[in-house]
């Protein structure tokens, strides 16, 4: 029984079924990583949890409550934040405005949250009045994560946050994600860089053709010879 979980999910975008009954879950203060080959339905599984998919079967629960049928926007209101893989910042708006937009739904004073984001990503402080499109790839990713954190979420979902950034930036970003986890947020990531991601994961899901192939702790999956051979390149 996890904080956020999708059980036995089946469905796809149009006619074709992409998920054939996979189950994914994450608890607060935990990092869960979805890995697997291309076309395994990793991002689709995440979209199912966000309510952007037509599910034919299965259910999604948040904190024990069934949220299978409610809209994406309502899920955002209930504390699920999402960082898309691409186009995840408002390019024409400043860093600060990006963060403010993250807090759009909040009616309380969110300055302390913003201070926390700037603490987490100090590099953004001096760029706060610059348009997000002018930042480097890594910093843009920081803005994207920061925007998501501004909603004060209980769950943070990231779709391939390290796609296209350098290894140094990736390590840095993973460090930050571990810090976010320590604040008691549930983190669910889809990752291409499976080895590094499983390294920091409390839970790992290896998806193949829309089904769970292996499910275990990150360390156990890294140690599993079959997983190593098939998915981690030896």
């Amino acid at each position: 029984m996890s904080y956020l979980q999708g059980l036995n999910l089946r469905g796809g975008y149009g006619g074709a079924e992409i998920l054939h009954g996979c189950s994914i879950g994450v608890d607060r203060g935990e990092i869960a990583v979805i890995v697997g080959p291309n076309g395994a339905g990793k991002s689709t599984a995440m979209n199912a949890l966000l309510g952007m998919l037509n599910l034919t079967e299965g259910r999604v629960e948040l904190d024990g409550e069934d949220i299978t049928t409610i809209s994406t926007q309502e899920r955002v209101k209930r504390g699920i934040a999402f960082v898309p893989q691409t186009e995840n910042v408002f390019g024409s708006m400043t860093v600060q405005e990006n963060l403010e937009m993250g807090a759009y739904l909040r009616r309380d004073d969110f300055t302390s949250t913003m201070d926390q984001v700037f603490e987490l990503f100090p590099a953004l402080v001096e760029k706060r009045r610059r348009p997000a499109s002018e930042l480097s790839g890594g910093q843009r990713q920081q803005v994207a994560v920061g925007r998501a954190l501004m909603t004060n979420p209980t769950v943070l979902m990231l779709d391939e946050p390290t796609a296209g950034v350098s290894p140094i930036v990736m390590d840095e970003l993973f460090d930050r994600i571990i810090e976010i986890k320590k604040a008691g947020i549930a983190i669910l990531m889809v990752e291409q860089n499976a080895r590094q991601a499983l390294n920091i994961a409390d839970r790992g899901f290896v998806l193949v053709t829309g089904e769970n192939r292996h499910t275990d702790t990150g360390q156990a999956l890294l140690a599993d010879p079959e997983v190593r051979r098939s998915f981690l390149g030896g």
């Binding site: 994406t72 934040a81 408002f90 024409s92 708006m93 759009y104």
Partner: protein, 337 residues
């Protein structure tokens, strides 16, 4: 020296002041087009007729006020009617969105379908305006006519050239400045304004941030209606109201929006003035201007007019075509293409 001042007064009278006032009207129109484009992502062919509709309502309210004996002192009564006209026009835009555009948004139609729909709305508005007020020319400006009168100016300054500054031109420029500042304040400083920019920038991400698309669209239509009505009333006060002219205004307004970079409010304003200044600047006969400035032997023999006045209207398209050729995204790097 006097020659120099005379030349400047001449130029102000026939080029600078009229162009500033026309530019302000076009800029307000282009702002409406550009906002609709930025948020709803289609070129609204009905904008000219929307301006005509708003102006028509303002004229009706003005007539009503006049019949009640309500005036605005030296200012035109139409300014008093403006807020009411804006309210009615906003109801119209919200209504058309509900009945027409919302459906295509829901089913995710291509932008070009929205354009075709806006052609339908254009036809209907065209008909409505002509049915209610008729196709003829209407003048509805009252109050004072001049801030500076040519004769008074000549008498006070002793210059050979007179300067006319009509009250409607003054109002146009002031209102345009005030409205623009208010709009920019709204877009840059308020929560809703920022949400609009966010939605225009990245619709999907704005949904993940909890921004309600329906609200953004609603506010956009209200602003578009306000801008169209204000631009239309100012244009009508300055010149006169005729439905067909307003339909034709669509073209310079599109030109202004594209020249500036569509989807970019700053661009719309710059574009408005560029179109107005070129239109008036190239069709003005500079003969007298050069006579003041140049020594006698260099005086031009002809009118010293770059383009015949009949082509005033075509000028904005030539600018448009040039921009499309050289820099399709416009001066401010609009979002298209």
């Amino acid at each position: 020296m006097t020659d120099f001042i005379n030349a400047f007064v001449l130029l102000s009278n026939f080029v600078i002041i009229p162009a500033l006032s026309l530019g302000s009207q076009l800029a307000l129109g282009a702002l409406g087009v550009t906002l609709v484009f930025g948020v709803l992502r289609f070129a609204n062919f009905a904008h000219g007729d929307l301006m005509a509709f708003g102006t028509m309502i303002a004229i009706f309210i003005t007539w009503w006020f006049q019949s009640l004996g309500i005036g605005f002192g030296p200012l035109p009564t139409a300014l008093l009617a403006l807020p009411f006209a804006i309210a009615v026009t906003a109801l119209l835009t919200i209504g058309t969105d509900r009945l027409v555009y919302r459906y295509y948004r829901r089913v995710g139609s291509a932008p070009v379908i929205f354009v075709v729909a806006s052609v339908g709305v254009m036809f209907m508005l065209n008909g409505i305006v002509r049915i209610f007020i008729g196709p003829d020319d209407r003048r509805f400006a009252d109050g004072e006519r001049f801030i500076v009168h040519a004769r008074t100016f000549r008498e006070t300054t002793g210059l050979a050239e007179g300067l006319t500054f009509k009250l409607t031109q003054g109002i146009t420029i002031i209102v345009a400045v005030v409205v623009t500042i208010a709009l920019f304040w709204f877009l840059q400083r308020t929560r809703m304004g920022k949400a609009m920019r966010a939605y225009s920038d990245n619709e999907k991400l704005s949904r993940f941030s909890g921004i309600d698309p329906d609200r953004v669209v609603l506010v956009t239509w209200i602003i578009a209606a306000s801008l169209a009505t204000i631009a239309g009333v100012l244009y009508g006060l300055d010149r006169s109201f005729k439905p067909f002219t307003y339909f034709q205004l669509l073209l310079p307004i599109f030109a202004a929006a594209i020249v500036g970079g569509i989807g970019q409010p700053v661009g719309a304003i710059i574009g408005g003035y560029i179109v107005a200044f070129t239109e008036i600047g190239v069709t003005y006969a500079y003969r007298k201007f050069f006579i003041y400035l140049l020594p006698e032997s260099f005086e031009p023999s002809g009118l010293a007019q770059l383009v015949a006045t009949e082509y005033k209207f075509a000028v904005s398209f030539v600018i448009l075509v040039l921009v499309l050729l050289v820099r399709p995204t416009g001066l401010m790097r609009g979002k298209v293409i």
